[in-house]
Amino acid sequence: MSAIFDEKIRKVAAEPALQRKVYAATGRLMDHRRQAVTEAALPDYQELRARAHELKKHTLEHLDHYLEQFAASVERNGGQVIFCETGDEVADFLTGLSERRGARLLVKSKSMTSEEIDLNERLERRQLEAVETDLGEFIVQMTGERPYHIVAPAMHLSRHDVADLFTAKLGVPREEVIEAQTMIARRVLREKFLQADIGISGANFLVADSGAVVLVENEGNARLTTSAPPVHVAVAGIEKLIPRAQDLAVFLKLLGRSATGQALTSYTSILSGPRREGELDGPEEFYVVLLDGGRSKLLADAEKRQSLYCIRCGACLNHCPVYRKIGGHSFPWVYSGPIGAILTPQFQGPLHEPGLPFASSLCGACAEVCPVKIDIPKILLELRAEVKEAETRAGANRLERLAFQMWAWAMTHPAVYELGGVLAAAALAGQEEYVRELPGLVNAGPAKAWASQRDVPAPAAQSFRDWWRQRRGGRA
């Protein structure tokens, strides 16, 4: 792995308080989800997962068709669709739009896609103020850091951290009570909502047959972002398409439950275009920006394409014992957790962070809870092979490859394997079954890494095969 990744992980390992916080917060989300998908609460849970997987599979296999259908539907409703290959194009569009409208202030509801393309930074460089309105994102924006978790962006911060931030950035008297902190944010952001020139949202789903943008939230900031300002721009990856409005019956039953254990979140908005004749509120202009941003590259791989089925529920993060130990900021890109581990190498290349696909024990807890049944462990295994192939081509990590080649040679030549076992036993077998430390020369590399955390099993004085032979009266 890269030194940066190693360093980040060590840093978190040295912060037990943070680790406990993350472990507890994700544990609570796990509990919420569990009670929402019991046999009693959702008897068709497994069937719904299978359906959701099939619907996403179908949509992505025919994505060009559904993109065209979606665009036609949006346009029919009086909106506009903007296709963008890159983040730059998205920023260009928004700048152009802002100029045309004389806009300076933009409000944003949660959009991981916009994080992916560093949209806020790009806008700021063009003198546009973009304010995050989701409470967690609003707080995190003040720290200059990335969101910690897809669903709980400020999971790593305490009320004291929030008090510090609000005093420093908002100039308000110090407030430690969480409810009061929330009301401060409400007051500050309400002004922004009402003054903003443009509201930028993401999209949980894009519905092809109706040209609708579906937003799922609990706070109401997405509703305000898309209802108060005169212009609404939804920025979404092309993979967000679903074929029909009626397919929401499958997806909406899975999203809330998988994310936070809610049958439905406080607000589900199905938005299709600018305000109609006679409506007195809602945006006058409606745009959907469809971002490729490298997704078409992932589409090309029939096996790993399922990585794009993700509906961003966060369940895999919550259930991942590794995420629960290293937290969201240890990951190299905007997407963390198991989904981040499979998306990042596919978007950024296998050598961007070669250690990432290996930062997993392959326990499979993620795949068990993924509402769209992405086979994350299988994809991690394939990505590991890709990393090794890339390293071989780049001439990196030669020693490791050599070690495995020797290992494979030993494992295909039983006599060599046995000899290795005999030598190890002779060197290391002793009275104890486990030893605390390894002698001198052996205390290096993987052996040393093992011993740094736990006692080391000593080779048995007599291997099983030796026992077998003796007992069976074979070669003495």
């Binding site: 590794v322 130990k325 997993s360 494992m411 295909t412 486990y434 093992w450 955390q453 006692d455 080779p459």
Partner: protein
């Protein structure tokens, strides 16, 4: 004429934990099976496969297929090795239909030990006695890839004198994950320590699992923490009288 069972003891058991293999032999013979040990066996290839070295893994997996080709039943004290053979050999041998076919044929004949007892031997009570409080750890590969959860518990419940107590996080990964344990030692160690906290809260003196790799991780961590709890493979418990 008792049915013939071939042991795949796994490299870990062969070299580090032979008692597990010995215990398996005892239990199987007690049940009337004729046990053999194809001596050419080494490894299923999982370490290389999990590390991204698929060519090397294929070589070792091919050797496995050759070693066990003629066996009626292959029984192993490991969920992860059985999962490797039954669920991953197919992908590993992509582009080699001959090997894929062999792997498919063998997949029907390889068994994790507890599943063999329950579904082939059709026994729950093997006549074992073990006095003490035990807690069971669900090995991830066995649990999620092979669906093994209730079986080992049923076998343990039939052991005379044994009290089975569930830990809160039985299904959480112990943190071994093969080379993960040495590539990410702090994380692996952290996961193990979380697990042993839960184990210690049960008051059990022994942790039982069906995978020696998990047991190695847990026992190494328990000893490092100075805890008196020890680990036993299910086979070792079932072999006790």
């Amino acid at each position: 004429m008792p049915a013939r069972v071939s042991l795949f003891v796994t490299c870990l058991v062969d070299q580090l934990f032979p008692k597990v293999g010995i215990a398996m032999v005892e239990v199987l013979e007690r049940l009337g099976y004729r046990v053999d040990f194809p001596e050419a066996q080494t490894c299923c290839g999982q370490p290389a496969f999990n590390s991204g070295y698929w060519a090397e893994a294929r070589a070792v997996a091919g050797h496995f297929l050759d070693t066990f080709r003629a066996c009626d039943y292959v029984v192993a004290p490991s969920g992860s090795c059985i999962a490797m053979v039954t669920r991953h050999y197919h992908d590993l041998f992509a582009g080699d239909p001959a090997r894929q076919a062999e792997a498919a044929r063998l997949a029907d004949r390889v068994w994790e030990f507890s599943r063999f007892l329950l579904e082939v031997a059709r026994v729950e009570d093997v006549g074992a006695r073990f006095d003490g409080v035990v807690t069971y750890h669900d090995s991830c590969h066995a649990l999620r890839e092979l669906g093994i959860k209730e079986g080992p518990r049923r076998l343990l419940q039939q052991v005379r004198g044994l009290e089975l107590r569930e830990m809160e996080i039985a299904e959480e990964c112990c943190g071994f994950g093969g080379t993960f344990s040495v590539k990410f030692p702090e994380v692996s160690g952290g996961m193990a320590r979380t697990k042993i906290d839960s184990i210690l809260r049960t008051g059990a003196q022994t942790v039982v699992s069906i995978d020696s790799s998990c047991l190695m991780q847990l026992e190494g961590t328990l000893r490092r923490a100075g805890a008196p709890v020890r680990t036993l493979h299910l086979a070792e418990v079932l072999a006790r009288r």
